[in-house]
């Protein structure tokens, strides 16, 4: 008698979200990206089909960052000094989405102005055909000051504006709603905090298919286990029917992994850490792959080799 496999049947579904708009849709993107729509835990195709696969975004900055690992500086080379070139290189490296992370100061050390930020966004949009996510520098006032004009200048492009946090979401959500964009909501690794922020954003009238949530994660060796479990719990809650957790998840394993000493530093480290480059790539790749298996829909990465490997893992996971 064949074994009867226990299958979970869930009442909940993750929202399907599309990012970017093509010419015909009011934008200028050469393609759009759709993700979400899951009705089961990640990749369990014996239970339900996987409607859309998780996607990989590459993070670029508005100017060459001083504190990134030398390995990243080496691999991106001169492209790092020009966001347009960097975006093109990222597209060629296999990114599905570009994440443009704005800095507090420009390359000359002066505060980033709205004009400059808008200019950078336009340059990036002009240089590549991928959908775009823009992260503000992470300071309440400055984020609002930069993101509002960016939102207006890119009306109809269906970009994602980030990062909405509990102290700073109203202005960002309002401008995204007015200009046809999406938002991403970040909370520090807690199921209830995620829900609360999602409620606040939904209460403002933001349609559910224009919200992403970022539950925050830690890198391998630096707290990944917390993010891992919070994401599993969020996804389980969503499938069980909790409507305020049914948003696709975006996480930043590239940012987290490249902050660690293991990835950042090549000299004066124990010999048992092995080859620097291979170790860093593994650090970023394994952080990302682990999170994809907990339900991440977008992983934001930094190194092209990790992008290649994570994309391979996603394709493999889709093959039953």
């Amino acid at each position: 008698m064949p074994i009867e496999i226990p299958k979970d049947k869930w009442p909940g579904t993750i929202h399907t979200v599309t990012l970017g708009a093509t010419n015909g849709e009011g934008g200028t993107r050469s393609k759009t990206v759709t993700f979400g729509g899951e009705t089961t835990m990640p990749f369990l195709q014996f239970e339900a089909p996987v409607p859309h696969k998780p996607v990989v975004a590459i993070e670029i900055k508005d100017h060459k960052p001083e504190d990134w690992s030398l390995l990243l500086a080496e691999v991106w080379g001169a492209a790092m000094t020009d966001p347009a070139e960097w975006a093109k290189a990222a597209e060629n490296a296999g990114a599905d989405i570009i994440v443009l992370a704005l800095s507090v100061n420009d390359e000359n050390g002066n505060p980033t102005t709205p004009e400059k930020a808008v200019g950078t966004v336009k340059k990036v949009l002009g240089a590549c055909g991928l959908p775009l996510i823009v992260f503000g520098p992470g300071q309440v006032d400055l984020d609002n000051e930069l993101l509002v004009p960016i939102s207006e200048a890119t009306k109809g492009e269906r970009i994602v504006l980030g990062i909405c946090e509990d102290k700073n979401y109203r202005t960002i959500v309002a401008t995204a709603m007015a200009n046809g964009h999406l938002v991403t909501a970040r909370t520090p690794m807690d199921v209830n905090l995620s829900k609360q922020l999602n409620i606040l954003i939904t209460d403002m009238g933001m349609p559910a298919d224009r919200i992403l949530m970022d539950p925050t994660t830690g890198a391998l060796g630096y707290g990944i286990e917390y993010g891992y479990s919070v994401m599993e719990r969020l996804r389980l809650a969503a499938l069980q029917g909790d409507t305020m957790t049914q948003f696709p998840m975006i996480v930043t394993p590239g940012f987290e992994a490249w902050k660690t000493k293991e990835a950042k530093v090549g000299e004066g480290v124990p010999g048992s850490w092995g080859d620097w480059k291979e170790r860093s790539i593994n650090w970023e790749t394994l952080t990302a792959v682990s999170l994809i298996q907990t339900g991440a829909d977008i992983v934001v990465l930094r190194h092209p080799e990790s992008v290649k490997r994570v994309k391979y893992a996603i394709e493999e996971l889709l093959m039953a």
Partner: protein
């Protein structure tokens, strides 16, 4: 299925003789159901009841232990699908595959290197668990096993057909390796071997139905210590099968497949790391890698450590003063929290700098700097309290206290709490501590 207290009570003598240390048999039964006592505490249980109770209390996934040289790799005994539901218990063993065709000298080199491998992660030394010796060339197998054994004491997995395995086992004594593998064609011969040499046995089959058929037959033959090989399919396929057997065991108490599994990670260009990472997160008991490289094992060992920590308790260090590089009265005091990862990131950097430092570890309930700060467990009051409690003022004359860069906002308040101290703000990341100590202090 686990029995309830009442069901267990019915199997006890019901004489309330109190010898177990409980006033009544029922009280004892309740404790048994809660797994807080051992059945052996009651001297009067009948043999029949013992068997019934043992069966019902057996874990849904059998515990398999592979042993040699006083070392042991355990797998199984897991009770949940997701780590937050309780915890994952037995970390999957990481093994390096050694093919016999490699030749004696090359084998010794490889095994010596991997055997000696040790990497420190938050105060723990992580190592390679063992070796999987494969008779890819039958004639060289016994030589290969001898070569491996001359270079390591660690537990082994033996891979080969029944003839090779038998000759291999004849060259090993006083240990319990894991034998790979019984299949539809050879299971009877393999069962005989596993019994004769008291080894655990891997079962290989195309589908779960095939595996179930084999484990049933092997159980009848008296082989209970089994491990399932779920095959070399795509990651999606591996995920499906490992999820299915875990569910069958835990949710349906399906004993036929209630065994840990073994995974081979042999992809190229870093794909092996991905395969092994999946196996760590998704339920594997034994993981065999085709190569040994520190840059591959270090991240995998750390991932395994992370996934298998108890989600209820952050790993912590004892609050107090840690003396690094023999500090003197004029050495600076650095303050941090007692979350292990935090403590070791800082301590390792300070140690590496070669500069003397007093490291003051506050009781932040095992939280990282920012988490503790956000939760109110690492504030000026707590910092001042530890300064006083641990008597650091008696040890230093210079009274210079360095705060983590992430909590620069605290510096004013700490200054107020600690008159006479100079409060400095250090860098945000521990990596930058050495240059800060050299140039800024």
């Amino acid at each position: 299925m686990a029995l309830s207290g009442i069901q267990i009570y019915k199997l006890l003598p019901q004489t309330n003789c109190k010898e177990c240390g409980f006033p009544t048999c029922l009280a004892f039964a309740m404790k048994l159901a809660a797994k807080q006592v051992e059945l052996s505490a009651c001297p009067y249980v009948s043999e029949g009841s013992k068997t019934q109770l043992a069966e019902s209390s057996a874990p849904p996934i059998r515990l398999i232990s592979v042993k040699a040289g006083g070392l042991e790799v355990k797998a199984g005994n897991e009770t949940v699908m997701f780590r937050h539901e309780k915890t994952f218990f037995n970390r999957p063993g990481l093994f390096v595959r050694v093919k016999s065709s490699l030749g004696v000298e090359a084998i010794k080199d490889l095994v010596t290197k991997a055997d000696a491998y040790k990497v420190n992660y938050v105060g723990m030394d992580l190592v390679v668990d063992g070796f999987a010796v494969e008779a890819d060339e039958e004639a060289t197998f016994t030589e290969a096993i001898k070569a491996v054994r001359s270079a390591t004491k660690r537990p082994l997995i033996l891979i080969g057909n029944e003839f090779a395995i038998k000759s291999g086992l004849d060259n090993l004594s006083g240990e319990n390796p894991l034998v790979y593998a019984a299949n539809e064609a050879n299971w009877e011969a393999m069962a005989d071997i596993a019994k004769k040499y008291s080894t655990s046995l891997v079962v290989a089959g195309e589908s779960l139905d095939d595996l179930a058929g084999l484990t049933e037959k092997l159980k009848v033959k008296g082989c209970e210590d089994l491990v399932l090989d779920l095959g070399l399919g795509h990651l999606g396929n591996r995920l499906a099968k490992s999820t299915q057997i875990r569910r069958l065991a835990i949710k349906k108490n399906f004993r036929t497949l209630g065994f840990p599994s073994i995974t081979f990670a042999n992809g190229h260009d870093g794909q092996d790391a991905i395969e092994a990472a999946q196996a760590i997160g998704k339920y594997s008991g034994f993981i065999v890698l085709d190569r040994f490289a520190p840059d591959l094992f270090y991240p995998l060992l750390v991932l395994r450590q992370n996934i298998y920590t108890d989600p209820q308790k952050p790993i912590q260090v004892q609050p107090g003063i840690y003396e690094i590089n023999s500090p003197k009265a004029d050495s600076p005091v650095l303050v941090t929290t007692n979350f292990s990862i935090t403590y070791f990131s800082v301590a390792n950097e300070v140690e590496g700098s070669g500069l003397p430092v007093w490291l003051l570890v506050t009781d932040a309930e095992g939280m990282s700097v920012l988490t503790a700060w956000a939760a109110g467990k690492f504030d000026s009051e707590r910092i001042a309290k530890s300064v006083k409690e641990f008597g650091i003022s008696d040890k230093v004359t210079k009274k210079q206290l360095v705060l983590p860069g992430h909590v620069a906002v605290l510096s004013g308040e700490v200054e107020e709490e600690l008159p006479g101290w100079e409060i400095r703000v250090g860098p945000r990341e521990a990596v930058d501590i050495p240059s800060f100590l050299k140039h800024a202090l």
